[in-house]
């Protein structure tokens, strides 16, 4: 049984496109990436799954149950962390977490224990007022409230914004632990490297439609990087007649291009050039879409 299954899930906001005919199958125990540029429909899909907004077409089931019919029951086993977190400013962290816990049927003592564990791990002060927290600390509250009931499905919508690298690392480790415990994870992001690190499969969404579902291993095989070289003398265009090179720009002392393919193939060619500098960067998703998924 698939943990999440959508069939032609569609959402229009009046005349405006949200998502169109989204088909997703997230299997039990996998970490499923959901990637696309901003405004592509990632949050719309997730908010529809969570029942915050109502689909205008198609259907979706979580744990095999129709989301429009048994929303509250499904959510007993879902943990959710949005990209931007907002909580009741007048509450203290511990009150907020207890309020959050009060909605679940699970054993309160166990939840309490989990709250202590998680906040200890993330170094979160439970006595502070929500209003006094920095954005990163609010995000930590979000992580704890999303995981405190040990959900079977964890849904993350661009979760890493505002987290410093150290906490991000701890957070990813936490997710791996939850996954090892048996939790299924839907991980939405517009940062490819993040998804590559965590996920087994990834759905790529653009302008409201799923354009491709790939295994991460295939994505890595087709690793896309942006190269910027500074050369001693003007490079020859012929040197870059390699499969996978795109958007090639050569000037007197520089070469820039996008490369998708095995890294060894390209570094071997670059090694032949006389370089003064090199940078290899993760292209942003927009670029990848522009050059590889457009067609």
């Amino acid at each position: 049984m698939n943990i999440i299954e959508t069939k032609k899930l569609t959402k229009y906001y009046g005349k405006y496109r949200g998502i169109i005919d989204v088909d997703l199958q997230v299997e039990k125990g996998e970490i499923y990436g959901f990637i696309g540029p901003n405004g592509a429909g990632k949050s719309t899909t997730i908010r529809t799954l969570l029942g915050l907004i109502k689909p205008t077409g198609g259907s979706a089931a979580i744990f095999g149950k129709d989301i429009t019919k048994v929303g509250p029951e499904i959510k007993e086993e879902i943990g959710y962390l949005p990209s931007e977190v907002f909580y009741y400013d007048d509450m203290r962290v511990i009150d907020l977490l207890k309020y959050s816990a009060s909605f679940y049927k699970k054993d309160k003592k166990q939840i309490e224990k989990r709250i202590q564990e998680l906040s200890g791990l993330l170094d979160l002060d439970l006595k502070k007022k929500i209003d006094d927290l920095s954005y990163g600390n609010k995000k930590k509250v979000g992580i704890v409230q999303g995981l405190l009931h040990e959900p079977k499905l964890i849904i993350l919508d661009e979760p890493t914004g505002g987290l410093d690298p150290l906490i991000q690392q701890k957070f990813f480790n936490l997710l791996r632990e939850e996954n090892a415990r048996g939790a299924t994870i839907l991980f939405s992001s517009h940062i490819l490297s993040e998804v590559q690190k965590m996920c087994s499969r990834v759905a790529i969404i653009k302008e409201g439609k799923i354009i491709k579902i790939e295994k991460i291993s295939d994505l890595i095989e087709n690793n896309t990087k942006r190269f910027a070289l500074e050369t001693v003398k003007k490079a020859d265009k012929k040197d870059f007649q390699i499969k996978g090179v795109d958007d090639l720009v050569i000037t007197d002392h520089s070469v820039t291009f996008l490369y998708r393919g095995k890294i060894n193939d390209i570094t071997r060619e670059i090694a032949k050039l006389d370089l003064t500098n090199i940078s290899i960067e993760e292209p942003d998703l927009e670029e990848i879409f522009l050059h590889y998924y457009q067609r």
């Binding site: 915050l52 907004i53 499904i74 909580y87 009741y88 309020y99 959050s100 409230q145």
Partner: protein
Amino acid sequence: MNIFLRELKSHWKGILFWSLGMVGLVGSGMAKFDAYQSTGQSINQIMNAFPKSVQIILGISGFDLTTASGFYGLLFLYIALMATIHAVLIGSDMIAKEERDKTSEFLFTKPISRARAVTGKLLAGIAILAIFNFVTAISSIYSVKYFNRGASATHDILLLMVAMAFLQLIFFSVGAAVAAINKRQKTSASIATAVLLLTFILSFLISLNDKLDALKYLSPFKYFEAQDIMAHGHLDPAYMALSGIIIAALIAGTYYFYSKRDLNV
């Protein structure tokens, strides 16, 4: 239950301030009665010398201002206005706040249906209205007793508090329904308050102009007027029934629209 308690907790400061305001209004209002009372009948003659329209606008027509209950009847107009403003704000705030403060994404990803959340919020709101009504009743009875040298007005006051409860519930439901239908929550409180003020002004216009009498059903303030209630010794059953229908319809609408629509997150 958790939502109910949470709402009471987040509103307790508001309850306190509104209650203090009400005690102040009742206390200072009745303090003036002391002066009126000592003039004997002459104050009524002066008031009756005003044109009818001025009397209506001042809210003094039909009251014997030298008796405690008559004077309280005049004051009741302002008490009811304050109580209904409070009620309409509480009603819209209860429903609107999660979206306005962007906490709807937190609350409604918990295992709870929208209907259950609305129930918790409405019950909390009604509890707040009850507290406010109780504070008004107690402060009214005591401040009237303090200044009164004539017949007891307690029975009239209690009757008027029942009328006030109806008015509170009507406008509480108006506030809740507006917020349930409206998607831009920053405007809910203003829209609901505008509805309240329009019906309030309408009640004056109806009193001023006999031709508008048919419109009286549109203004709940016309359902429970202090002079009628005190003259008859009871509330008009037809208007009580009409109020019940209005409240039920608005509450049903609140559940229906809030459960059905997309939340603003």
